[in-house]
C-alpha cells in the first residue's frame, strides 16, 4: 500500500507484541484445537507455505501464455479447461472445475463472486482482499465500468462487458488478449506479461514496454 507497510506483511498491526482481538481469537482457536489433538500446527505451516510459495498467479500466467502460443492448447482450454490446466500440473482445491473465458476485440470478461469469495485458487492462489470485500462484490455486477476505472482500466464505450458471477462450483480464469508486439516471444516471456488482475478481468495483459 505504502512504503510504510512495505516488507512488513502487516496492515495496521504495527505493535507485534500487542494482540488485537482477532489475534487473540484465532490464538484461542488454534490452542484449544491443538491441545485436543485436532489440528497439527505443522500442517498449518505447510498450508501457508503452499500458498505463499507454490500456488499463485504464476500458475495462471503459464496457462495463459501457453494458450497464446499454442492454438491447440487454447482450443483444449476452451473446451475442457480443467483437463488442459491439469496437464500443466495445476490441480486441486478451488480448481476442481475450471472454465476459461477468452477476451476478444468485442468482449471483455470480468469475474466476481457476489455471494462469497469463490476464486480459482489452483491457478491464481489466494484471492486479494478487495476481491472478497463488499465494494467489489456489490459493484462488479451493476457498475463494472466504474469498478474497472478504479483499476485504471477504461474500456471503449462499444466494448461489451460480460460479468461472470461464480455462484456455483465452477471457477473462472480470464484469458486476456495477447498484447501487440510479442511476435516470437517465448512462453516464459509471454507469462511475464500476464498479471493476476488480467486473469480476473480487472486489468489487461501488459505491453512489452510496460513490463520492462
Amino acid at each position: 500500500m505504502s512504503e510504510h507497510h512495505h516488507g512488513h506483511g502487516h496492515d495496521h498491526h504495527d505493535h507485534d507484541n500487542h494482540f488485537t482481538d482477532m489475534e487473540a481469537r484465532v490464538k484461542a482457536l488454534e490452542t484449544v484445537l491443538t491441545e485436543k489433538g485436532l489440528i497439527d500446527p505443522a500442517a498449518i505451516d505447510a498450508i501457508v507455505e503452499t500458498y505463499e510459495t507454490k500456488v499463485g498467479p504464476r500458475n495462471g500466467a503459464r496457462v495463459v501464455a501457453k494458450a497464446w502460443g499454442d492454438p491447440q492448447f487454447a482450443e483444449w482450454l476452451k473446451r475442457d479447461a480443467t483437463a488442459a490446466i491439469a496437464s500443466l500440473g495445476f490441480t486441486g482445491r478451488q480448481g476442481e472445475h475450471m472454465r476459461a473465458v477468452f477476451n476478444t476485440p468485442d468482449t471483455h470478461n470480468l469475474i466476481v463472486c457476489t455471494l462469497c469469495s469463490c476464486y480459482p485458487w489452483a491457478v491464481l492462489g489466494l484471492p486479494p482482499v478487495w476481491y472478497k470485500a463488499p465494494p467489489y462484490r456489490s459493484r462488479a455486477v451493476i457498475d463494472p465500468r466504474g469498478v474497472l476505472a478504479e483499476f485504471g482500466l477504461e474500456l471503449s464505450a462499444e466494448k461489451k462487458i460480460r460479468v461472470w458471477d461464480s455462484t456455483a462450483e465452477l471457477r473462472y480464469l480470464v484469458v486476456p488478449e495477447r498484447p501487440e508486439g510479442t511476435e516470437g516471444f517465448s512462453e516464459e516471456q509471454l507469462a511475464e506479461l500476464v498479471t493476476r488482475d488480467s486473469m480476473i478481468g480487472t486489468g489487461l495483459a501488459l505491453s512489452p514496454e510496460a513490463a520492462r
Binding site: D11, V48, T50, L115, P135, R139, D165, T167, E169
Partner: protein
Amino acid sequence: MNGPHDLGGQHGLGPVAPETDEPYFHAEWEKRALGVTLSCGAFGAWTIDESRHARESLPPATYLSASYYEIWARALETLLKRHGFLTQAELDAGHMLEKGAEPKRVLKAEMVAGVLAKGGPCDRPIATPPRFVVGERVRTKNFNPETHTRLPRYARAKTGVVEAVQGGFVFPDDNAHGKGENPQWVYTVVFDGGEIWGEGADPTLTISIDAWESYLEQA
C-alpha cells in the same frame, strides 16, 4: 437466505481500493486462520455448503465490517461448537477443558500436499437428462428461503438464456442443511444488464450466473 453476503447490486459500500503489491497476508493471525480453517475442514464433519451458510449467518453488522479471514474464523467457531468439537467456555478460557467429538480425520503436515492437490470435487452423475438445452430461454424463480441458496437476490424472477449445460453438481440448498447431496444439473444462464438492473443499465453489459436446475423454469 437474504443475508449480508448477498451483495450484488448494493450501493454505498465504497470504492474497491485495490492495493498495489498486496501481500498474501496482512497479519500473522490471517495465516493461522487460513490454516486452522482448512485443517478443520479436513475433519469431514461438515460440507463446504454448511460452512458457507455459517459465514452468511453472521450478524449483518459483523459480516460487513469484518475482513474475510475474520468471517472465516467466526464461522469456524460456530461450526466447531455445533459439531461438538469444542465449547464456548474453552474458547473463552483459551484452553481445552473437556474431551469433545472425534473427527474422521486429523490433517497432519505430511498429508497437506496430497489433500490440497486433490481438492473436493463436487460434480456428480445425474441419471436423468438435463431439462433445459443451450439457447433456451429460462426464468429464474422468485423465492426467499431463510435457508442457504446460491441464487442471488438480484437474479431472482429474471429471464435469461441458457448458454451452457455445465454438468451435475451437489445441490447446496439441501447439502448445507444435512439433507444430502441431491445433485442437479447446473446451467450457465446469461442475462442482459437491462433485464437485471432496468432503467439506466449499461447497454453493453451481460451477466451470467451458474444456476441449479430447480432455480429455473421455462420462460
